[in-house]
Symmetry: C2
Subunit: 335 residues, 2 copies
């Protein structure tokens, strides 16, 4: 309908120059009070909104940061995003979000888009299939800082905020041990995720410290798809001596694995017990769900990541750094 109104429109309508309008809108004290008021009133009436592309071109900053997460439906990530947004808001920054759907190509496209848009910073939780980091190097070559959140890359020096699984998982193993369980399996995530690595190492060390035996047959990794998770759970249950407890990579993996258990007519928390990660709000409502969860505080991870970005942007973080958020075991009542 109406033509887009620019600073020039206002200028010619008021018989002043565009520069005066620009300064008036910025509240520059060198512009007379009367002019300033006339400008801002007309701007309001015409619904003037500045063109951020033009501003960006001049100022070389966008006050915008990009967020790339594997998906949006996992509450874990949306809580993380809320943590990030809460920091950004008080910095006066806007967040724009993209999901990679755990697909490296989509992740690359999203990153490329953000680079073209010249965001001031990037916060990333890696897609499960990402095994190249060229797209991130490109960003850094353009001087755009990247903070990796929780799903951090292996062997790629960077700023990162990570959840420490060790604290919560060791408590979990001790808890299962106290319950009398000895055969404990690990249904892990893909091996190229640091978080999967950490779970595995902690599991091995924890089992060793408790004097429990481990076996390669008890350790499986899923690519996080429902199909693969169910297949791997089948394998675990098909063993001559199946485990008494399974530690699942996260609640979603636990849910998919539980489907297999139910399908076989086994009784949860009796024939087999689950312990999981990422304490989702709705897991309380699941019939005989995981007996305990390792809470990782995703909101806090996002919040710290936002703060770290703020530091980096203000030049206070000269060196790559890693921030840690310690996990805690939450035991559920399953009587």
């Amino acid at each position: 309908m109406a033509e887009t109104v620019t600073i020039k429109t206002i200028a010619s309508l008021l018989g002043v120059s565009p520069s005066t309008v620009s300064r008036a809108l910025q509240g520059n004290p060198r512009i007379g009070l009367r002019t300033r008021e006339r400008v801002s009133e007309l701007a309001r009436n015409l619904n003037y909104v500045s063109n951020s592309a033009a501003q960006m071109l001049k100022k070389n900053t966008t006050f915008t940061v990009g967020i790339v997460v594997p998906n949006l439906h996992e509450e874990y990530f949306s809580l993380m995003i809320e943590g990030i947004e809460d920091v950004l808001e008080q910095m006066g920054f806007q967040a724009i979000i993209s999901q990679s759907r755990d697909n490296m190509e989509k992740e690359k496209k999203a990153v490329e888009h953000f680079l073209r848009a010249r965001v001031d910073g990037l916060l990333v939780s890696l897609s499960a299939t990402t095994n190249e980091y060229d797209h991130f190097q490109k960003m850094e070559r353009y001087g755009i800082p990247i903070i990796f959140c929780d799903r951090t890359p292996k062997g790629f020096p960077s700023f990162r905020v990570r959840s420490v699984v060790e604290t919560g998982l060791k408590s979990g193993l001790e808890f299962l041990h106290r319950k009398g369980m000895r055969r404990i399996a690990l249904l892990n995530g893909p091996s190229y995720l640091l978080s999967a690595d950490e779970r595995l190492n902690t599991y091995l060390q924890g089992m060793y410290e408790l004097g429990l035996e481990t076996s390669p047959a008890y350790i499986r990794s899923t690519n996080l798809s429902k199909e693969d998770t169910m297949a791997k759970m089948e394998e675990i249950l098909g063993l001559e001596t199946p485990p008494e407890a399974v530690i699942a990579f996260n609640d979603y993996v636990a849910l998919d694995a539980i489907k297999v258990v139910r399908g076989k007519g086994l009784v949860l928390n009796k024939d087999i017990t689950f312990l999981s990660f990422a304490n989702l709000p709705f897991t309380d409502s699941i019939e005989n769900g995981p007996i305990a969860s390792v809470e990782q505080f995703p909101y806090k991870i996002g919040f710290k990541a936002g703060q770290l970005l703020e530091e980096v942007l203000s030049g206070d973080a000269p060196e790559y750094r890693e921030e840690l958020v310690y996990s805690v075991l939450k035991i559920r009542d399953r009587t």
Copy 2:
């Protein structure tokens, strides 16, 4: 680190003019093959990425659309987003997402940001607290089309894609009736949402058609916060003759309401039965959850909204239009 590389960098390095580089990168056939190849090779080596702000300024288009949803953690919305993204992707558009957290002020800020960024279109699911539409009018005055998805405004003419609750809900009422239930309550959403309106009207009409009595005491609306939902459910259970069944605005409301029921020591699907909307994947795993759900096909809603936007952008949709997606009842096995 490295300076940002522009078209000029490449031009001076190659001893040609910026315009030649620009044309070469666009594959303009007027540029000689040799030059074209030299340019694109150097561009690749320097990791050149075009500055979309500059492009936008010239071409007055961004190939970007904004999405504003109340929140990201409800799978309903993230599925809708996936539907939208799948259309946009094949159009060669990028989606950028913002959440309003059901807060009108945040919604306004997000919309304003998208206006400044001059997105080519906007897809919106209204925040639950939105009761003014000035920010949307502003967008339209700038010629940016808006498609409302599912949470559509009342009394504000617009393009919209809406779920039709009638089909699924009437089947639901008949289903409860066949199960022998007569006292059926409605725990509705906020009255300014069209979807709440439609649930109410369908409920009233359906009850009438089945010859069942209705009473104002059986009709409550929550603002969707956990606290309010629980309070309203308390009210319903506190009645002299509480209902045999409750129709909840959606699965989240049902979950919160179910907490109250459990807290009172009542037995689900015996003392009181729930029927709900928005068939979330995890509701299957809830102990004695809703006996049936009205499936609204959020992915389809998003997909249709994307297609409608495509039409509008290509000028094929001169008039405001409403697309409907019909709901269906999904009955769960609760033996």
